[in-house]
């Protein structure tokens, strides 16, 4: 039986293997080791949730703690990438992009174009995202759509341990700036992950489940919700096809459109806010390019246009649920 490890371990293993393969790979961020300058243990934390634990001692000098200066060190990662390093900067929570966005979207993303194709900026910015931890409005957002909007950035949203490892290795080897987003509720998810190094290519969606009645496009943690819903719908005789884009930029539009052309019905499940979201983006894609195939309106299941609430009672209402997907699927199947 193949080895099973968690999403968190898969990310750690990808970093470890790439750091061993290429001396230019460095990891930097707040407490990526933890304990810098302190009297006690070095590598005390290995990241705020332990994702980078153990790398500090295995790769001396290349796991670099930073001050809480996101603009400073994200920009430093970008600058280092400009001269051939392959930095992996950890932003901790994606919500912190508000204090360093310039270095990402005005600097890293635009160098290649502004400089007439003469720059390569192979930087990876990792961050955790998503609701479900009672972390409230400033530590729970799903901001992949914000990065996806920016030409020059690639955006990766792995939904399982296998993809997390393969996509992170691809991200580090890729020669463009990559935003790698880890859903914090997936860190403990277990799955089969090969021990050897491998890559998962960008812009290739995974068909997680095949079906002929309804296409469900789901991102990140929402893939699990879609799978729960599909299992439920199967009992009611509704056969769902689930597509996990895996990267939102580039986006595998062909796989999505082919599925919509087959099923004639589309639900997009996106944990982020509804306006200018991946849900609206993918819905627009299908409306424009697969209109003739549609048998029913497109449905977008997203979080509401409200900040992520703290109270568990409210947060559970906030997060798209399998029940909502089931209800939407049934209404689409009955639509005429």
């Amino acid at each position: 039986m193949a080895r099973k490890i968690t999403y968190q371990q898969a990310i750690n293993e990808a970093l470890d293997q790439e750091m061993s393969r290429d001396q230019n790979v460095i990891v930097m961020g707040e407490d990526v080791a933890g304990g810098a300058g302190s009297p006690g243990e070095q590598d005390a934390w290995g990241g705020v949730l332990g994702v980078t634990r153990g790398l500090y001692h295995k790769h001396p000098g290349r796991v670099i703690d930073t001050p809480i200066s996101e603009s400073g060190y994200v920009g430093a990662a970008v600058g280092a990438a400009c001269c051939g390093m392959r930095p992996v900067a950890e932003l901790m929570f994606v919500d912190f992009l508000g204090v360093c966005f310039d270095q990402i979207f005005n600097q890293a993303a635009k160098f290649r174009y502004m400089f007439g194709g003469k720059a390569e900026t192979p930087v990876v910015i990792r961050a955790m995202y998503g609701a479900g931890f009672r972390a409230a409005a400033q530590h729970s957002q799903c901001l992949y759509n914000v990065f996806t909007h920016i030409p020059g950035l690639k955006v990766v949203v792995p939904s399982n341990p296998y993809d997390a490892k393969g996509l992170l290795i691809q991200s580090i080897r890729d020669n463009d700036p990559v935003i790698f987003l880890e859903h914090k509720a997936l860190y403990t998810m277990e799955g089969e992950v090969p021990e050897e190094s491998y890559t998962v290519p960008f812009g290739e969606a995974a068909v997680v489940r095949e079906g002929h009645d309804i296409t469900i496009v789901a991102l990140g943690r929402m893939v699990q919700k879609a799978q729960e819903a599909a299992a439920e719908l199967q009992k009611a005789g509704i056969h769902c096809e689930i597509i996990d884009p895996r990267t939102t930029s580039p986006l595998d539009t062909d796989t999505i459109l082919e599925s919509v052309e087959k099923t004639g019905r589309l639900i997009v499940v996106d944990e982020s806010h509804p306006r200018c979201s991946m849900a609206s983006d993918i819905a627009g894609l299908a409306a424009e390019r697969a209109f003739a195939s549609l048998k029913a309106p497109i449905r977008q299941i997203t979080g509401p246009h409200a900040p992520v609430p703290f109270s568990d009672a409210l947060e559970e209402l906030y997060i798209p649920s399998a029940a909502k997907i089931v209800a939407a699927a049934k209404s689409l199947k009955e639509y005429r």
């Binding site: 200066s69 270095q103 020059g152």
Partner: protein, 324 residues
């Protein structure tokens, strides 16, 4: 100890300063005709700073520049002919006409780019310096920034980061007295930007930016210290821009006669020429010959830029990514 300047060095320094001046004066003239697109922010008057700093650097050292970046580009070795074409929006420009005045970059000579975002370069040079340090290379990185950027959080973060990581970075504050139309007397809370160095545990020094030799010595000492592993420094260069924040700025916020007075009494090229000719190191005829060569070069660059092709539709979507 800063390297003693040879006669060739002096001629090179003069040529660089004259090239920047001629480039900028020509843009000032041509911009008024309405043919040059976009914004240009001219560096005329500040030539001693870029030149005095970059005379201490090699092609593998890095600099980050500002929106007022033409002088830094030329001093670091970017080809002025390609720059002129870039500013005219031509396909033959340094950046194929996709960057323009505010984004001229040439990584092959360690020029990380002019930058349209005030304070954007501070974090970037921490990265190039970190790379050099991790690789054990004796290379330094210089962040040019203005008095306006001196109040940006990115610069404070970068200064702290460079000090914490003990990076070979020089923070080179070009205090020309105005952030757009706002005086640094108003916007900078302390007497000198260099006073802020002590807050980050690094040396800080303020020098006369009209004096090439003063800049060369002060920057040279900081660069040498960084090369030897001594960590970052802050050097503040006090100078003046001869033109507005951007071309078209009427500069009513400046005192009457302010620029004319500086041009007549402090100009870096005048001071430099007076010094090297009066002590017999260089003959006036040699300087005149350089002036003529530079003028011919800039004239030719404009002729070429005007006749070069603009990028076409096929160029719109290229170079967004390495691969996509």
């Amino acid at each position: 100890m800063t390297k003693q300047l040879t006669r060739d060095d002096l001629l090179k320094a003069y040529r660089t300063m004259r090239t920047i001046r001629e480039f900028e004066e020509r843009l000032h003239t041509d911009f008024a005709t309405g043919e040059i697109p976009g914004f240009v922010h001219l560096y005329a008057g500040e030539e001693a700073s870029a030149t005095g700093v970059c005379m201490n650097l090699g092609p593998d050292d890095h600099i980050a520049s500002t929106h007022r970046g033409h002088g830094h580009c030329i001093a670091k070795g970017v080809d002025p002919v390609g720059m002129m074409a870039e500013i005219w929006g031509r396909k033959t420009g340094t950046c194929k006409g996709k960057g323009g005045s505010m984004h001229i970059a040439d990584l092959s000579v360690g020029m990380l780019g002019a930058n349209g975002i005030v304070g954007g370069g501070g974090p970037l040079v921490c990265g190039t310096a970190l790379a050099a340090k991790l690789r054990g290379q004796p290379l330094v990185s210089v962040c040019f920034f203005g008095d306006g950027a001196s109040n940006q959080g990115t610069i404070f973060e970068a200064m702290n980061l460079a000090a914490v990581w003990k990076l070979p970075v020089i923070f080179l504050a070009e205090n020309n007295g105005y952030a757009e139309a706002t005086s640094s007397n108003f916007s900078v809370a302390c007497a000198n930007i260099a006073d802020r160095a002590s807050a980050f545990g690094m040396p800080g020094v303020t020098v006369d930016g009209f004096d090439f030799f003063a800049v060369y010595e002060a920057a040279g000492a900081a660069i040498e210290r960084a090369r030897q592993g001594g960590g970052p420094s802050l050097v503040e260069v006090k100078l003046s821009r001869y033109y507005g924040h951007f071309e078209g700025d009427q500069q009513t916020y400046r005192a009457p006669g302010e620029v004319q007075n500086i041009r007549e009494t402090k100009d870096c090229l005048l001071q430099f020429a007076r010094r090297v000719t009066s002590n017999g190191q260089i003959g006036q005829a040699e300087l005149d010959a350089i002036d003529a060569e530079v003028k011919a070069l800039i004239d030719a660059s404009v002729v070429k830029a005007k006749s070069d092709p603009k990028p076409g539709e096929a160029d719109l979507l290229t170079d967004v990514y390495v691969s996509y």
